[in-house]
């Protein structure tokens, strides 16, 4: 890496990640082989329409007034006015479960994956290919196959630790591994971790302060992106929870949809919007790397 940084690197942590894996946005505006404006509008409009219709249909569906026809927002209003306390309580419980699982999964990923990746990066660079292979592996094992093998593991686990829903966090830790790995590794590749840690060590920092005051602030974009994607994946997970008979947001939605499809669709719309905003935030975090930012005071994380 070419970015040589001043010794006070603990400060503006954002500058170390100025390099991206892909070619930067240099003069991309005038791509010679790009389609003309009209063709572009036609293509995107057509495909956009296919993707828009189901979403519009979902909204329309939730606004239906019932058999009499017509539309109003009564279902949304009813739900907003504490409708969750009644028969939809199970959705609330399930949402709580899913959020708890998301937090647990993020903790597992952060506490295990980040130190491991750093260690491999600094001390054992030769293990990197192995690490990459292991981390990407879960993508090629379908969740439905994983469940077949997880069933016996979980029956053992429930005898040891109870059958609480939190135990699913271990399985989710595996399913989000590839996504979290990619996010963090991409950030790691853009930061000269070795020089940074050597510089900090030379200046008398212990490993603890190297980790928390130098490396983590520099990697916080990758870590945040990894955490967000883990949250999105966990909130959308259905296969494992459903077949291991645990309750999470998605399985509860299926149950609710059998009794009251309108509410299920409302919740789906809300969940989709939430995930969209979450990913948009990740995108903004990534994009900010290339733009100049105003300087921040010392101390990456409060």
């Amino acid at each position: 890496m070419t970015v040589v940084r001043e010794a006070g690197a603990t400060g503006d942590g954002t500058r170390g990640v100025s390099r991206r894996g892909r070619p930067g946005p240099v003069a991309r505006g005038g791509v010679a082989h790009a389609p003309s404006r009209a063709v572009r509008a036609l293509l995107l409009g057509g495909i956009g329409l296919f993707f828009l219709i189901p979403v519009v249909a979902m909204v329309e569906f939730t606004l239906r007034k019932g058999l009499g026809g017509g539309h109003d927002a009564s279902r949304w209003i009813a739900l907003a006015q504490g409708g969750l306390t009644g028969q939809y309580r199970q959705v609330l419980v399930a949402l709580g479960n899913s959020v708890g699982l998301a937090v647990g999964t993020v903790l597992i990923v952060l506490l295990l994956l980040v130190p491991t990746l750093l260690l491999v990066h600094i001390r054992f660079p030769r293990l990197r290919r192995v690490m990459e292979f292991v981390c990407i592996l879960p993508i090629s094992i379908p969740a439905i196959v994983l469940v077949v093998g997880l069933a016996p593991v979980y029956s053992l686990l429930s005898r040891l630790a109870g059958s609480g829903v939190w135990t699913l966090a271990f399985a989710y830790g595996i399913t989000v591994l590839p996504y979290a790995y990619r996010a963090i590794q991409a950030n790691l590749d853009g930061v000269d971790v070795r020089t940074l840690s050597e510089a900090a060590r030379t200046l008398g920092a212990g490993w603890g302060s190297v980790l928390f005051r130098v490396l983590v602030p520099n990697l916080r974009r990758g870590i945040l992106a990894g955490a967000f994607i883990a949250v999105a994946v966990v909130l959308g997970e259905f296969t494992i929870a459903s077949l291991l008979s645990r309750v999470n947001l998605q399985t509860a939605l299926v149950v609710v949809s059998k009794a009251d499809p309108y509410t299920a669709v409302i919740f789906s719309l809300l969940a989709l919007t939430f995930a969209f905003l979450l990913l948009l935030l990740i995108g903004c975090l990534g994009a900010e790397r290339t733009r100049p930012r105003r300087r921040r005071p010392i101390g990456g994380r409060p």
Partner: protein, 266 residues
């Protein structure tokens, strides 16, 4: 890590080879030859092949359409996140979306019926059977294609197009003789990834069809939850073994193609 990835996979594959008393047997693996199971694999193959080919073509067209947009612009940011949501988050909720769209009381169904007098379910309701899975699957295949194929398209150097133009080549020459060969490995690799994705997808199908098991993941569900097929508990293991074999072949092809594609992406 070991307990939750390696052990389950080994168990999943291993149980295919043992009967209920724990003795080694090939009977359950032989169950893969059962016409019902073979039919499910056939359906899975057909569904995955169809949706991955259509998804790859439409996705590639979408990538081409977005080629002119600034990579760090607002349009790309929105499309990127939307693709991420639909490709990874959808599952159950996509099933709801399509019930609301082309279900019996769906918006499009009613619109077509009331406006044009066309009944899309004239030959029976196909949404909850195999053909009904095609549209919802496309709804997450196209975004996945966008995510995986866009970097390759973006790595095309403007200088190549300029060189082509300087040497008197037309647009057709550029796409057929330069961009085409460069993009081919990426395109085929993404196609394989889409195939693997459709093949292993479970949530949408499970939420859409509550009865019958036309595709392999649903077969695994019924093998895992069924109480009627006594003595066939390990069928799920055998099915899982079959799926893993398919996935290994597909993913091996994918990484080989990816390695070839990487030459042009520096």
């Amino acid at each position: 890590m070991l307990l939750f990835l390696v052990v389950p996979t080994l168990i999943a594959v291993g149980t295919g080879f043992f009967d209920t008393s724990g003795a080694f047997t090939l009977d359950t693996v032989a169950a893969l030859g059962n016409p019902v199971v073979l039919g499910a694999f056939g359906n899975s193959f057909a569904l995955s092949a169809l949706t991955s080919v259509i998804g790859a073509l439409v996705g590639a067209i979408a990538c081409y359409g977005l080629l002119g947009a600034r990579p760090d612009g607002a349009l790309r940011a929105v499309v990127d996140s939307l693709s991420g949501v639909l490709a990874q988050f959808g599952g159950v909720m996509l099933a709801f979306a399509f019930v609301a769209t082309i279900g019996i009381q769906g918006m499009v169904t009613l619109f077509l019926r009331d406006t044009f007098g066309v009944d899309i379910f004239a030959d029976g309701v196909w949404l909850y059977e195999l053909p009904g899975l095609v549209l919802p699957y496309l709804y997450f295949q196209v975004p996945l294609m966008f995510i995986t194929f866009m970097p390759a398209l973006q790595a095309l150097k403007p200088t190549w197009a300029e060189a082509n133009a300087t040497l008197g080549g037309s647009r057709a020459t550029y796409w057929l003789r330069i961009a085409g060969p460069v993009l081919a490995p990426s395109f085929l690799g993404s196609l394989l990834l889409l195939f693997a994705n459709a093949f292993s997808s479970y949530a949408t199908a499970a939420a859409l069809t509550s009865q019958g098991s036309q595709i392999v993941p649903l077969q695994i569900r019924s093998a895992l939850t069924s109480e009627t097929l006594l003595g066939r508990e390990n069928l799920a293991g055998a099915l899982a073994l079959g799926m893993i074999l398919v996935m290994v072949v597909v993913m091996a092809g994918y990484s080989a193609l990816q390695a070839r594609a990487a030459r042009w992406q520096r």
